[in-house]
């Protein structure tokens, strides 16, 4: 194949649609949002929106609230997905059916899940009644319209995605690697932690990044299953309120830009941690 370096007319021609698309729906809106966040309603440059965000405790608290919901949900969904993906790495019986059932929540849509949860977990829902009958809860108001309700619905939405990514990764690890480890005397725990887990790591990180960004932008669940004015006032909701209740697009943009920054910081931390872990793992036994 001809592998000329440089930009031939064909290369530019083929890239053109993708570049236009990126510019139109990603780069331009992003730059526009950055610009909005740095101007006041008159269009003059100001850092006031950012100052306002960091000095107003109600706004600043949304960062903490959003992280408090999205991080544990992401971590839990990944931690649970790892053993399941490991177990399913060589295929299981009725795998297609199982995969279909696991993917179902992804296809339902956030609103349907929330509706369902309101019905089942609500004050007169059967789950609540059952728990009451079993004497596991004191009163009938603790499952939804609070932190738990939002976290549970986010888990239902994000878990399948992470699991499917991880199954793809684990089933791609050749079975002879495990056999080799076993034949070298490794116990199944040693084989998992020293061979399988490090090889699953790239998949774990990708699944983490995807699940985290999807959980961090939580909006619908926070309104339908939480208390959007207090306990679950997440960043996306705050941005919405400022845009459509106070018609302050500039401050809304500020919140959106800060959402991006927080997400990048968290993902950056995770990848930096991985790099340390990876180098550490491969240094074992060096003289």
């Amino acid at each position: 194949m001809d592998r000329r370096k440089g930009w031939s007319a064909e290369t530019i021609g083929f890239l053109f649609p993708a570049v236009v698309f990126l510019l139109a729906v990603f780069i331009y809106p992003f730059i526009y949002a950055v610009q909005l966040s740095l101007t006041d309603s008159e269009g003059a440059f100001t850092l006031g929106n950012y100052v306002k965000f960091f000095t107003d405790l109600v706004e600043l608290k949304t960062v903490w609230i959003t992280l408090k919901i999205s991080l544990p949900v992401t971590i839990l969904s990944i931690v649970l997905a790892i053993p399941i993906a490991y177990f399913m790495r060589r295929g299981i019986k009725h795998e297609k059916l199982v995969t279909f059932l696991m993917m179902l929540p992804m296809t339902l849509g956030v609103v349907l899940i929330a509706e369902g949860m309101i019905t089942y977990f609500g004050r007169n829902g059967w789950v609540m009644l059952l728990l009451e009958q079993l004497g596991l809860v004191a009163d009938r108001s603790s499952l939804i319209h609070n932190y738990f309700g939002v976290a549970a619905s986010l888990f239902i939405q994000t878990f399948p995605m992470g699991l499917i990514i991880l199954i793809g990764y684990t089933s791609g690890i050749h079975s002879s690697l495990e056999m080799a480890a076993t034949m070298l005397g490794a116990t199944s725990a040693q084989t998992f932690w020293r061979v399988m887990f490090p090889l699953m790591m790239p998949g774990i990180l990708i699944a983490f990044a995807l699940n985290f960004t999807s959980a961090f932008s939580v909006f619908t669940s926070a309104i339908m299953l939480g208390q959007p004015t207090s306990q679950t006032r997440v960043m996306a909701y705050a941005a919405y309120v400022h845009a459509y209740e106070y018609f302050d697009y500039n401050f809304c943009s500020t919140i959106c830009i800060l959402m991006i920054i927080v997400q990048l910081i968290i993902i950056g931390f995770v990848f930096a941690f991985r790099n340390r872990l990876y180098k550490g793992a491969s240094a074992v036994g060096k003289g």
Binding site: L184, G185, A281, S282, G285
Partner: protein, 379 residues
Amino acid sequence: MKDFDRLIMTDLSKSYGDLHVLKDFNLTVDRGEFVTLLGPSGCGKSTALNCISGLLRINDGRIQIDDEILDDGRHIFVSPEKRGFGIIFQNYALFPHMTVYNNIAFGLSVSHQPKDEIKKRVEEAIRMVHLEGQEQKFPGQLSGGQQQRVAIARSVVIEPRLLLLDEPLSNLDTKLRIEMRYELKQIHKRLKRASVYVTHDQSEALALSDKIVIMKIGKIQQIGTPKEVYLHPANRFVADFMGYKNIWKAKISEITESEGQRQIVLESKGFKFISRSTIADNIQGDTAVINAAKRGEEVLVAIRPDDISLGATAVNTLEAIVEVTEYLGTANQISARFTDDTLMQARVTPSHRISVNERVSFHIDPQKIVVIPEDEEEA
């Protein structure tokens, strides 16, 4: 781990549902012996190896090392990590996230050996496979041959009491394969540990083994030294696998034995053949041949293309019409057709000029005609 005297496999069987992949498998491997399981794909050789390693459980039979039972198909099962065997896979199965050093050190480090000891033994293994200077590279940065060396070092560094090799050379190119074959032999000589080697390549089996086990669809066809299986194939399958490209039906007219020599006179394709061989006790096929002769049944004669020469002689001369000649450098490969419309494969010295459609005389040394029983299942 300490050495053993004998690995004994008795009546092993392994099946998946109705599919018997291993049946009536009986084999012993003595201390220091190099045993090869040889056969085409699907013959059960890899299954047998995996049963020995413990990566597969047997359905029936018994695997034992001296008095220690490893698997009896029922209650007793020693798991693979506790057997103290080493294995080398066809795809090497190196850990891609570890350096060469850590790959080789893996077996020692999971058994919590002291760091100094690990270092000493890994360095020794690296020297043995000539990988000095590659310690900190990752498997992805190495060539196929180097990866193979890492795999060898990784499995011998734990000093396994038995080394299992599952087609370790088949991913290498021809030149490297022969080099590595030689090195494997050197390593086996040095370690003096028993090895079980699986391959479909007869030249590898002949070059490396003390004992060859030829298998076909889950059943052992013949066990013998390389010389025995090469010179005295027990049946049609083994003969074909060992390169006897000419296998013809024949009728025995006379068997005479004197002074340790056996002479068999046969008739095949309208020609008279004489086969001479030394009488030996341990040749599987001979009894079957003699029994067949007594019953007046047909047998087979097997002849290698290389053992057929041009020109007529006093005995074993036959004629055929040449159809194809191919120049192979060291020889001319000839396909010739008999009057009964069957083909003969001969490989003759390239100095002779032979034209297609010519009627040509060939002859065969009586020592080179092997007589085998007609029905291979009886062998």
